[in-house]
């Protein structure tokens, strides 16, 4: 469970969210919906502690942060990328499963992988540790139907086991039973 109390988020002079009070219980998916530039990412960044809220309190547990910025097509390999991110979480890459199938491309440089494959590698970070909260910004970007299916089942198994997912998305139809929070645009 985590708690947001009178949370106000602003970016420059633009107000993105005003006095949000919300309790999220285990097993919940919260969708942040709204048009481009309405403040979904800013709100998500505020939850992650990457943007100082203008006011209010939040009490959130450990989390995974997956941003909307795609992995650049560099000479780095997925193996190095995953080892680096595991190290950042204070662990080593000891995944037991490979739902996105990235083990087949572990040593292929990112500059030879498509956007969808780079997204699959990024999402594989979700399997490296098991924090109770996932903060996902447009996680389905670039994924094909099979990748999308894998993502949905991964999120479902996370929430079924008591986890919480907060997702900024333009595809709310993928999570028909989720709680939602609407963003209308900067004020």
């Amino acid at each position: 469970m985590f708690l947001l109390e009178n949370l106000t988020v602003a970016r420059g002079n633009a107000l993105m969210a005003l006095n949000v009070t919300r309790t999220l219980k285990s097993g919940v998916v919260l969708l942040l919906e709204g048009p481009n530039g309405s403040g979904k990412t800013s709100f998500l960044r505020a939850l992650a502690g990457l943007l100082k809220p203008a006011s209010g309190k939040l009490d959130i547990p450990e989390f995974h942060w997956i941003s909307a910025i795609s992995v650049p097509p560099s000479v780095e390999t997925p193996r190095e990328y995953l080892a680096f991110h595991a190290a950042l979480s204070g662990t080593i890459d000891t995944r037991k499963t490979d739902p996105f199938g990235v083990d087949t491309v572990l040593d292929t440089p990112f500059n030879r992988l498509s956007t969808g494959w780079r997204q699959r590698v990024k999402l594989t970070r979700l399997l490296q540790s098991q924090p109770p909260l996932w903060l996902l910004d447009e996680p389905s970007d670039g994924l094909d139907a099979k990748g999308m299916e894998t993502l949905l089942s991964l999120i479902k198994s996370h929430t079924d086991s008591g986890g919480i997912a907060v997702i900024a998305t333009h595809q709310p139809q993928l999570w028909p039973h989720a709680e939602t929070m609407q963003f209308v645009g900067a004020a």
Binding site: S42, L50, K52, A54, E80, A83, A86, G90
Partner: protein, 222 residues
């Protein structure tokens, strides 16, 4: 864990962009340009050499700085670093060490080799020059890190970087060039070397903390 993170930071700077080779080539070509400009009179070269190599080392320290933090900010890595279990000052210290390993230390190595090759009396001041260059290379990377943090996200960051970093590099430049010239002038190099060591210790101790505070403030301020 820290080893994996440092390796990645270093490889992002060097692999594909060849920053170490750039630093070496920059040093050799810049020194050659100076020598062509001032003429190959051995006596004149002897007097000017310590100052020349130090001045070029300061400029070589600017290489790689625009991307030191900016590349991480552009692809979201900076957010991941901020959220990591490793403290941000430690990450900044790794950035500083990686910059030294990729640019200033290779340039310092080139400085030693070029001085030995071009200056007939180099053996007189080579130990002082080598000690000074090693300290100076690290302190230039420390002030460079500070400059990279201060200009993060700024327009015209490249110009600002030079304006911030070059003045901060003047004290080690004066102490280092002074220490290398001391044997030629018949004075002791101990004082300039001590001052250079003190500057380096202060810079590498404080710069990671200062850079971490600046980066955190720049990223999280709405």
């Amino acid at each position: 864990m820290s080893g994996v993170i440092f390796t990645r930071i270093l490889s992002r700077m060097t692999r594909g962009r060849g920053l170490q080779m750039q630093a070496l080539l920059f040093f050799v070509l810049a020194l050659a340009a100076f020598v062509f400009g001032i003429g190959a009179d051995p006596e004149q070269l002897e007097t000017l050499m310590p100052g020349l190599v130090w001045a070029i080392l300061v400029l070589a320290g600017l290489l790689g700085l625009p991307d030191l933090l900016e590349a991480d900010a552009a692809d979201g890595t900076l957010d991941d670093l901020l959220l990591s279990k490793i403290s941000l000052p430690s990450v900044m210290a790794m950035k500083m060490a990686a910059h030294a390993a990729a640019t200033t230390l290779p340039a310092a190595l080139a400085a030693l080799i070029c001085t030995s090759a071009m200056s007939p009396d180099a053996f007189k001041y080579l130990p002082q020059l080598a000690t000074g260059l090693a300290l100076g290379a690290i302190s230039f990377s420390a002030v460079g890190l500070l400059g990279a943090a201060l200009t993060l996200g700024s327009r015209r960051a490249g110009t600002l970087l030079a304006v911030i970093v070059l003045p901060l590099g003047v004290p080690p430049l004066i102490f280092g060039a002074g220490a290398a010239s001391a044997p030629l002038l018949g004075v002791s190099p101990v004082m300039p070397l001590s001052l250079l060591a003190a500057f380096t210790v202060a810079a590498i101790t404080l710069a990671p903390f200062a850079a971490a505070a600046i980066v955190r403030m720049k990223v999280t301020t709405p």
